[in-house]
């Protein structure tokens, strides 16, 4: 047993290391910063710096435990984007909610760090730790409105069910460890292929336990029940962050584990995922129709979008994964944009969460209404917007792999989804305003919305940039 003498090669780890150090520095600085906007600004600068390091890093470290390839950097890009946008829309918001503590931003950074670790985890242990790091910071963020019982309830539910799910994950890990003697994904894949023990019930058990844990994380159908309550209870900016970042991380891990470790069992776990995906789309779309609270509606819509992204995973292959990643990237902008508009309605003394609060918004605030219209149509998947491109790529991948009927089912569900998205547009444009609605806008918030709208429209019209990026990312997989 040689003792490690020289420093391990950490070039691949630079983004994570930089993120950790700067997050800690931010934590310290926060003590001295009076105006919290500066903390937010610093958080964004940190994100930018990490983004800068992201491009350079590729390769593996710590004997395969840390893999930094195209796949992980694309996902890290999504995490950073969602971090920046969430921070921008939460500056004004947490001041209104009077929880304007610096820790909010550092927790955001830690959760992003957790996601980045998950994305580039080559070993199940590191994956679990990354997941826990992200989850813990999210439990706290969900309960950030200490005075609001809804927020407490949200964090409690998220915590209990999160712990429950990670217990299943651990049980699965122990099972795999028992069967293959290793927790390294590539080694597992190699072992399963070599010893032909792939279809052993115990392996299938661990596969299913992983499906449960990751299903919980991306809020797929039977494991989705926490999402509506947590999304509704948590502060809206956290909900925005939560509905994009962790979901993408969940998919990153789902992809990583199932395509490398259980690559051989593709047929089996695809068979498991198909009913799951259909159930997720069904639950997400159908239950969203009768919602009255807009955050809850968007929660169900994000469940539905998880269902659509699952199709990419089921299709598998280069195109399938690329379409999933592309969809999640576009989904990040659409969703945070939509939540951004929801946040604008939140002013002193006016919650602005009920759908009926949006009546006549087009008359009182035409710009806000127009933005919401763009996001709603993008979420439905109507062509000139990015939502359509995302779905189109997904269905193309599915049809290429012969899942035409699945694409058909998904297409029908996205038609059903048109109903509740359009209901919002209908409330805004076709109803007379009841009370005079004031909007709380601020410069960063404006920037975030502008970025989101431009992204949604630009990708909608010129999607080749993102598609190429996603394709190149998968090539490295």
């Amino acid at each position: 047993m040689k003792i490690l003498t020289e420093m391990p090669d950490v070039t691949a780890l630079m983004p994570e290391i930089v993120m950790t150090c700067l997050a800690l520095v931010l934590l310290m600085l926060d003590l001295f910063i009076r105006r919290k906007e500066i903390t937010a600004l610093l958080a964004i600068v940190i994100a930018a710096v990490v983004g800068f390091f992201l491009t350079g890093s590729s390769g593996t470290a710590f004997s395969g435990m840390f893999i930094s390839d195209g796949y992980s950097s694309f996902f890290k890009l999504i995490f950073l984007v969602s971090l920046v946008l969430s921070v921008l829309i939460s500056i004004r918001y947490i001041k209104i909610e009077s929880v304007n503590f610096g820790e909010y931003y550092s927790l955001m950074l830690f959760s992003t760090l957790g996601m980045m670790l998950m994305a580039s985890a080559g070993d199940i242990i590191v994956l679990y730790l990354g997941l826990e790091l992200m989850a813990l910071s999210l439990y706290v963020l969900a309960g950030f409105l200490r005075h609001d019982t809804k927020s407490n309830e949200a964090s409690l539910k998220y915590f209990l069910l999160g712990a429950f799910a990670s217990a299943f994950l651990l049980y699965g890990t122990s099972m795999i460890y028992g069967l293959t003697g290793t927790t390294n994904l590539k080694a597992i894949a190699h072992y399963l292929a070599a010893n032909g023990v792939a279809h052993n019930p115990a392996v299938m058990l661990s596969v299913i336990l992983f499906v449960v844990a990751f299903g919980f994380k991306i809020a797929a159908a039977p494991f989705h029940m926490w999402a509506p309550d947590v999304y509704e209870g948590a502060p809206t900016s956290v909900t925005a962050f939560m509905s994009v970042g962790p979901k993408a991380a969940g998919f990153a891990v789902f992809g990583r584990v199932f395509l490398t470790a259980f690559g051989g069992l593709q047929v089996d776990w695809a068979g498991i995922l198909i009913p799951l995906a259909i159930l997720t789309m069904a639950v997400g779309n159908i239950l969203a129709i009768s919602q009255t609270n807009i955050k809850r509606m968007l929660a169900y819509s994000s469940i539905a979008h998880a269902g659509y992204a699952l199709i990419g995973l089921i299709a598998g292959g280069g195109n399938g994964v690329a379409s999933m990643m592309n969809y999640l990237f576009i989904y990040a902008f659409m969703n945070i944009g939509a939540f951004g508009v929801v946040i604008m309605l939140r002013t002193e003394g006016f919650k602005g969460e009920e759908i009926t609060d949006y009546e006549g918004l087009a008359k009182s605030h035409p710009l806000a209404a127009a933005l919401m219209l763009v996001f709603m149509f993008s979420l439905t998947g109507i062509p000139p917007t990015a939502g359509f491109v995302g779905k189109f790529y997904l269905f193309m991948a599915a049809v290429a792999e012969g899942y035409t009927w699945l694409a058909l089912v998904a297409v029908i569900f996205s038609a059903i989804s048109a109903y509740f998205y359009l209901r919002i547009v209908m409330y805004m444009y076709m109803k007379e305003p009841k009370a005079e609605v004031a909007l709380s806008t601020s410069a960063p918030h404006g920037i975030a919305l502008a970025v989101a709208t431009c992204a949604v429209l630009l990708i909608g019209v010129l999607p080749s940039g993102i598609i190429e990026l996603a394709r190149a990312a998968v090539a490295g997989f």
């Binding site: 109507i382 062509p383 049809v399 035409t404 058909l408 996205s414 038609a415 444009y429 076709m430």
Partner: protein, 506 residues
């Protein structure tokens, strides 16, 4: 090849959108400026579209004024535009109709004037896009993009029950077109990863796949036409839409369904189209008679004209699925005629609706004495609608019945009964509105403005022009329809019902 120096089709698509963007920045209170700007843009687009009419080469079936730029290389999608005999007339119709819509809603739109004209102009861009797109992705993009402005047009400026009508319109069309989306993707993956329609047309597809894809495309186009079972959105959308909305809906939107059959279903799935001709003919005949008979029971003016559109479009689909040259050319010409006539009828209804704010026929009567010029205009359009020879309706209808008769005698005969019922409900409508004693409500009616006369004038000219000398319009279509028929007869290999070919649809 592109005879002109500048990319005419792209300008036609993006000029209105640009105009809409300009209007966006006009102040909310300067309504007059907004209106004039919108009118200027729409006229400019119309003027720009005239070269399409004059410089069109009537000898070749190939696509003209083509433009092709790489758009999304990773999916092999090109921004590919072009027109041929079939689609050029529709573009001209769209540009003309938009000008008239801007004119007609001059002072009938009171609220959110800016957004209204933006929606109309964006609508125009999308419409032209649909007719000139030759890349499936681009086609689908315009096809769906058109839904949004129309949804807002009906929903925001519509009548009392507008919200229900708007949502119904949107969902009806969306459900149909998403099935087409899957169809497009299956085509894309089977035909070697290309969206280029012209390339797709050269390939042959197994019958079983043609069958399923035909029905997928049918879902989208039948809703738009609207064919018999899926037509119930039209009366609601028409009655609730503002005048401009129902004119665009009647004149152009409905044509996209039939255009879709012509451009996609027939050439791409020749065997399936031939096999499905009989059910299609039955549906069309049902639509003709059903639409006509139901008009007899209507009390709302716009709803009656809407149902008459169902009947007229039944003729068009009959023409298309007669699968012979007279039927096809009659169908295309009838689409233009229907656009002109029904568009004009809705313009006229708009004119009196601005004055009386009522659509119930019982509120009218004896309008001829109060409003003679208007009565004359309406009479010409009524006669054109019932297919009086010498006016435009007859030429199209006669060719269709001729084509239908050759295709199947039953279809021809039953379709011909449509003209009887058509005459019945239109003349009965005309009598209840214009003849009999003058209704007290109508006494103080203000005469027709010059603006309104100008709006209806082009329609009158077109009605007589197509009626007396249809050759100018028919000559556009000959080569393209000929080409389409050749593809139909030779394109798909013979029908192998055994389905032994690798079946793509799992």
């Amino acid at each position: 090849m592109n005879g002109l120096a500048y990319p005419i089709l792209s300008t036609l698509i993006f000029l209105p959108v640009l105009g809409a963007a300009v209007i966006l920045f006009i102040g909310r209170n300067q309504e007059r400026l907004t209106k004039w700007a919108a009118l200027a843009v729409s006229i400019a687009v119309f003027v720009l579209s005239i070269p399409l009419f004059t410089d069109f080469n009537r000898m070749t079936p190939l696509m003209q004024f083509t433009e092709s730029h790489a758009w999304i290389p990773s999916w092999n999608i090109t921004y590919f535009l072009g027109v041929d005999g079939i689609s050029v007339l529709f573009i001209l119709l769209s540009t003309l109709i938009t000008v008239l819509c801007v004119l007609i809603s001059w002072n009938s739109i009171k609220t959110k004037v800016k957004e209204f004209y933006i929606a109309v102009l964006v609508m125009e861009g999308a419409m032209i896009g649909v007719f000139s797109a030759l890349d499936f992705f681009l086609f689908y993009l315009f096809w769906e993009a058109m839904l949004i402005p129309m949804y807002l047009l009906i929903g925001v400026w519509g009548g009392p029950n507008r919200v229900y009508a708007a949502i119904k319109f949107f969902l009806y069309t969306l459900v149909g077109s998403v099935l087409m989306l899957v169809g497009i993707i299956v085509l894309y993956s089977y035909a070697g990863h290309t969206f280029n329609i012209l390339e797709l047309m050269t390939k042959t597809y197994p019958y079983r796949m043609q069958f399923w894809l035909f029905w997928a495309f049918f879902a989208a186009f039948a809703v738009k036409v609207p064919m018999f079972p899926v037509h119930t959105w039209l009366p609601d959308a028409h009655t609730e839409a503002p005048t401009a909305g129902s004119v665009i809906l009647a004149a152009v939107l409905i044509k996209m369904g039939a255009y879709g059959f012509l451009r996609f279903s027939l050439p791409l799935f020749p065997d399936a189209s031939k096999a499905m001709a009989v059910p299609m003919l039955t549906l069309s005949v049902i639509a003709i008679i059903y639409g006509a008979v139901v008009c007899l029971a209507q009390t709302d003016l716009k709803r009656l004209i809407a149902y008459s559109s169902v009947s007229h479009m039944g003729f068009v689909t009959l023409g298309i699925f007669a699968l012979n040259i007279q039927g096809l050319e009659g169908g295309i010409l009838q689409m233009i005629n229907h656009g002109v006539v029904t568009g004009a009828l809705f313009l006229s209804v708009g004119i009196i609706y601005d004055r009386t704010h009522s659509r119930q026929i019982s509120d009218y009567g004896g309008l001829a004495t109060v409003f003679p010029l208007y009565a004359a205009f309406f009479m010409v359009f009524t006669l054109a609608s019932i297919g009086l020879p010498g006016l435009n309706g007859f030429v199209g209808e006669f060719l269709i019945i001729l084509g239908g008769f050759t295709a199947s005698k039953w279809a021809g005969v039953l379709a011909a009964t449509g003209i009887i019922i058509g005459a019945a409900y239109m003349l009965w409508l005309y009598q209840r509105v214009f003849f009999l004693e003058t209704n007290q409500k109508l006494v103080g009616l203000q005469a027709m403005e010059l603006r309104e006369v100008i709006t209806l004038l082009p329609m009158i000219i077109l009605v007589f022009w197509i009626g007396i000398y249809p050759d100018t319009f028919l000559s556009f279509m000959h080569p393209s329809v000929q080409n389409l028929l050749e593809r139909l007869n030779t394109g798909g290999q013979e029908v192998t019902l055994a389905g032994k070919i690798a079946e793509i649809i799992k």
